[in-house]
């Protein structure tokens, strides 16, 4: 591969390079960052790179904006990808708004927007829930056996008190 073809691959297709770099930065932020707001920023960057991809796709070298003027036969940029991306931008805005609203609610419920903290809180409730469930399972089995014994003795069923009925209080 000669230098010229390499240079051509870079500069002739520079819009794609921009798109790829932006997309990877966005994707990396989504994956690597703990902060939920930063995740959303990464997500938005990721979406924006696709918008640029569509917009650059519709551009023709030396073309003007596709607006009808009298007696004009200039070369126009392709308007359809631009219109499509207007729709996609609106979708992106809606996603951002919803995502941020969820982050606000998460902050109110957990007091943190670091994913690690939130997950740690979740695992804590999950662990305590699991422990409670195991305890309940054991006591239920014990009760079952006791009940079976009682049945065999005198046909009287042991009432059995309700085991610990707290199933992991949700701190809402």
């Amino acid at each position: 591969m000669s230098l010229a073809t390499i240079a051509d691959a870079f500069f002739g297709l520079f819009n794609y390079w921009i798109v790829i770099v932006l997309m990877m930065i966005g994707f990396y932020i989504v994956i690597s960052h703990d902060n939920l707001v930063k995740k959303l920023i990464g997500l938005n960057l990721f979406q924006t790179s696709v918008f640029i991809f569509y917009i650059s796709m519709g551009k023709i070298a030396g073309s003007t904006a596709p607006i009808l003027t009298e007696g004009d036969d200039a070369v126009y940029a392709h308007p359809l990808p631009h219109v499509l991306i207007l729709t996609a931008i609106v979708v992106g805005v809606a996603t951002m708004a919803l995502g941020l609203a969820l982050v606000v609610r998460i902050h109110e419920a957990y007091g943190s927007i670091e994913e690690d903290d939130v997950l740690a809180a979740d695992f804590e409730t999950q662990d305590s829930e699991a422990a409670t469930e195991r305890a309940r399972q054991r006591s239920a089995e014990a009760r079952q056996q006791a009940g079976a014994r009682d049945d065999a003795d005198d046909g009287h069923r042991a009432g059995g008190e309700r085991a610990d009925d707290g199933h992991g209080d949700e701190r809402t």
Partner: protein
């Protein structure tokens, strides 16, 4: 006027929910909003049924939006395949309307319930739009409408963990949607068209390029994220567990199925089976992932203590069956996949509704919470058992028919290993369903007052309608199988 109405029916499927959602927002009260949702979902079901008959008799229907003929304008295209999906979605939506009122009144604050119904209507609008549109970009827009509304529906769950699961779903879902957008962009670059049929016509000329291959990869991965194919399923168990019961039932029964439908549409109608499965090794990839999903989903389901989470993991496994069917790209395999889309939609809807009814009584849904409820809530528990049997694939239920078709398809290609995997996964489902049934019937309830205390009639009735539908599809399988066969033949015919 009547003929005008008949000719406008396809678009009404999308327009009615779209019009009703803002009306729900304006009325601002729970009861009228519920009434609007019920009215619209039943109207859509009726329209879907009429259209189904019309397509059955007269063949595919094309509806042109805004007076721009395809391939320039947006076209709605109805054929045997998507009418099956539309019937499923509208049917579940209509039955969910009966179920939702009592369930939502118990789980969502009254002053926010109107927003719930508006979001549910938008979700319905999006799902129906995906199903009937003939335009690739339009499909993306409807997919995002349905996804955005389902994120907010899931976030309405009572526990605070609903928020994080909705957020994770939002991140994964948006990445999936954006991948789909990139894929559609690649196709548009190469063909200059967004109409699916038109892309399909123009693709063969350029199908050897890297761009089209990359487009296919992006579309497959994007949609797989949306329907939670094996390594991309992380969002699903949490989302289904913490969503309000009616939402779990509705979304589990429809959203993933519609995403699979979109994948089938792209692979078979747009790319063509010969390209996707012949030239590219997509079938093998999907097959491996499907088998892993079937086994890992079932194994994970066995170890859950929460009934809704157990059902959610079982959904991961069941999506494996559907993908396995389509990955074989044979007529029988596709028929099995389509039949299982419908059967699993109905069965999972019924199971989540039964779980929701148990939740309604106990305000909690771990296996220990439902212990002994078989005697206190006989109808709900019985519904769970019958739907569970259908999920396992016991004869005389819908689940049996589609699993049998799947086995038939597998044996046709002499994949004995796959047949074994299907059987193992079914046996595993016996274990996890068995755990719940054991708790329901063979354990003493936590408090022993011994009185029956059923969930509200509307919830039980809705659950039993779905259970009945599943049994009916097991006993009179021929209409469904025949439709699925016709749809599969249509897909393979256009793809070859």
């Amino acid at each position: 006027m009547i003929t005008q109405f008949l000719s406008q029916m396809p678009v009404l499927l999308v327009v009615l929910p779209l019009l009703a959602a803002p009306v729900c927002v304006i009325v601002h009260r729970a009861a009228p909003a519920w009434f609007i949702y019920a009215l619209i979902s039943w109207a859509c079901f009726a329209i879907a049924f009429l259209l189904f008959v019309q397509v059955r008799i007269g063949g595919p229907i094309s509806y042109i939006l805004g007076g721009w003929p395809p391939p320039f304008g947006i076209e709605l295209r109805l054929d045997a395949l998507n009418m099956l999906v539309v019937l499923l979605v509208t049917g579940i939506a209509a039955i969910a309307s009966i179920y939702a009122r009592a369930s939502i009144a118990a789980e969502i604050p009254r002053e926010r319930a109107y927003l719930f119904y508006a979001a549910l209507l938008l979700c319905l609008c999006g799902l129906l739009g995906i199903s009937i549109t003939g335009d690739a970009f339009n499909l993306f827009v409807f997919l995002e409408i349905s996804s955005l509304s389902s994120y907010s529906l899931i976030a309405m769950g009572a526990k605070r963990r609903a928020l994080l699961s909705a957020f994770q779903y939002l991140i994964m879902g948006t990445i999936g949607g954006t991948f789909l957008l990139i894929g559609i962009g690649f196709l548009y670059m190469m063909t200059g068209s967004l109409n699916m049929a038109d892309i399909a016509d123009r693709l063969p000329a350029v199908s050897d390029t890297r761009t089209v291959e990359a487009g296919l990869a992006f579309i497959v991965i994007g949609l797989s994220l949306k329907f939670a194919l094996f390594p991309l399923h992380i969002w699903l168990p949490n989302a289904y567990t913490y969503a309000p019961s009616a939402v779990s039932a509705f979304i589990a029964a429809t959203a993933t199925k519609v995403a699979v439908y979109a994948l089938i549409r792209f692979l078979f109608t747009v790319f063509g089976a010969a390209y996707a499965f012949g030239q590219l090794p997509l079938g093998e990839v999907l097959m491996v992932l499907a088998v892993v999903a079937m086994l890992s989903g079932s194994v994970a389901a066995i170890f859950q203590t929460d009934v809704k989470r157990l059902l959610a993991w079982s959904s991961v496994a069941q999506m494996g069956y559907i993908v396995l069917g389509l990955s074989m790209a044979s007529a029988t395999g596709l028929t099995a996949a389509l039949a299982h889309i419908v059967n699993h939609g109905i069965i999972k809807g019924a199971l989540f509704m039964a779980a929701g009814a148990l939740f309604w009584r106990m305000r909690a849904i771990s296996i220990n919470d439902v212990a002994g409820l078989g005697r206190r809530m006989p109808l709900t528990a019985a519904a769970f058992v019958v739907a569970g049997l259908a999920l396992i694939g016991v004869p005389a239920t819908g689940g049996f028919i589609s699993k049998w078709l799947l086995l038939e398809a597998v044996m046709e290609d002499a994949h004995y290993g796959l047949a074994a995997a299907i059987l193992v996964s079914s046996l595993l489902s016996v274990i996890y369903i068995g755990r719940v049934v054991e708790a329901l019937y063979f354990r003493d309830p936590a408090d022993n007052d011994g009185k029956t205390a059923e969930a509200p009639v509307s919830m039980v009735a809705a659950t039993w309608v779905l259970v009945g539908a599943s049994v009916a599809l097991g006993l009179y399988a021929s209409p469904l199988v025949e439709t699925a066969e016709r749809a599969a033949a249509g897909l393979l015919g256009s793809g070859a």
